[in-house]
Amino acid sequence: MKTGKIVEIDASTHQKVQKLLPWMLDDSLSTAEQRMVRDHLLQCAECRADLDWQRQVQSAQPAMQAEPDVERAFAALSERLAPVNRAGSARPRQGMAAWLQNVWRNLRPAPWQHWAMAAQCAVIVGLGLVLLKSPADAPAQFHALSATPSAAQSAAAAGNVMVLFKPETPERELRRILQAHGAHIVDGPTVTDAYVLYLPPAGRDAALAALRRERAVALAEPLDGGAGR
């Protein structure tokens, strides 16, 4: 039975609800706002019709007309990312001290690199032992024509130190280190990115110690079981 009761709509609430209606579609209003809107919707046919109309507009989301391609776009962006030194560009320039800090930050290995280096060390030591044991255990089966190298030449050809440089070390720095310590590359980079070096026997232990002090050197180990540790 109809009571004939007339519900008066609060004009102020109506205005507030009108402005909040679009966000009823996705329930992104606060709990209090939702309650106010729901209460008002029960009484206001105009707002119910408005909400219904907005649902229709939302359901008719226009199709995109442009056809951007993520692969193409990212390839273009990658070219711009390549030369960016993130650490350097993210902070204002602060002179040489800041630059040196950035260099050190780049050279310093990330936590996962410690594990990678440990694995590399194990492989290098293993390879070193194999190299040391090979001549004694297995007699040479092949001889290079008739040439008989001198003892010094053989030692130089074999190398006597294994070095692992930090991955970010530029070639220029690597060259400087080699020249500074009178080292020559005999082999490398190996599969573990290590280099076999030859250091003159006379000052080898001192050169090895100096190599270990180089910031770019992650590991330097003798291959002939000599001192230097």
Partner: protein, 199 residues
């Protein structure tokens, strides 16, 4: 009238912006601060389509949209350490993209015309219901294209990106009340435009 088409319309499409769990993206932004390019690529790909849909209401120029996204994401890459978590990550990224787009299009506020051919798509080969739905989409696209830029983007973010009013106000950098009023006027204008196109 517009309402007559309703029974043939499909349910609203999913709106990825609303209620999206940002915890994964926040983890990515932390990795990006540390210089992780792979994390950046993951974030880039997760935002690309959303930004593209957002920008498509500002310009239909494909190359320009890709350029705007790249410029905006380059800012994200370079300035990730300045994101202070005072707003949602999506608000921050959309805000950058919006400002980048305004600069790129020179704030010309040109109406974005809907291309009937593109809007119809394969309508001729689809059932009638699909055709009617696409007609509806075309009318909405035309009406949206005639709104002033700011009103158009407000409607776009509210209806098609499922963003709350505070988030949109943050993106457009305007007070919440101003923004709500802007949306109110945008709806009235849109209603008039849709009624006109139905005649």
């Amino acid at each position: 009238m517009f309402g007559l088409l309703r029974k043939n319309s499909e349910p609203p499409q999913a709106k990825p912006g609303h209620g999206r769990d940002e915890s994964g993206d926040l983890r990515l932004i932390g990795q990006i601060v540390a210089g992780d390019r792979r994390a950046f690529e993951t974030l880039y790909r997760s935002y690309f389509s959303r930004l593209a849909r957002f920008l498509d209401r500002m310009t239909h120029n494909t190359a320009l949209i890709e350029e705007i996204i790249n410029d905006a994401m380059l800012v994200v890459w370079r300035r990730a350490d300045t994101f202070d978590h005072s707003c949602k990550l999506s608000t921050w990224i959309f805000s950058i993209a919006y400002r980048t787009a305004l600069k790129a299009i020179g704030h010309r506020d040109e109406p974005v015309d809907a291309d009937p051919d593109l809007q119809h798509g394969d309508a001729m080969h689809e059932p009638e219901a699909g055709f009617i739905q696409q007609q509806l989409q075309q009318r909405v696209a035309q009406a949206l294209g005639m709104l002033p830029l700011e009103q158009r983007m407000v409607v776009n973010l509210t209806y098609y990106h499922g963003m709350g009013y505070e988030e949109i106000a943050g993106i457009m950098e305007c007070p919440v009340n101003t923004f709500k009023t802007r949306m109110f006027h945008a709806r009235r204008r849109l209603k008039t435009l849709l009624a006109d196109t139905a005649e």
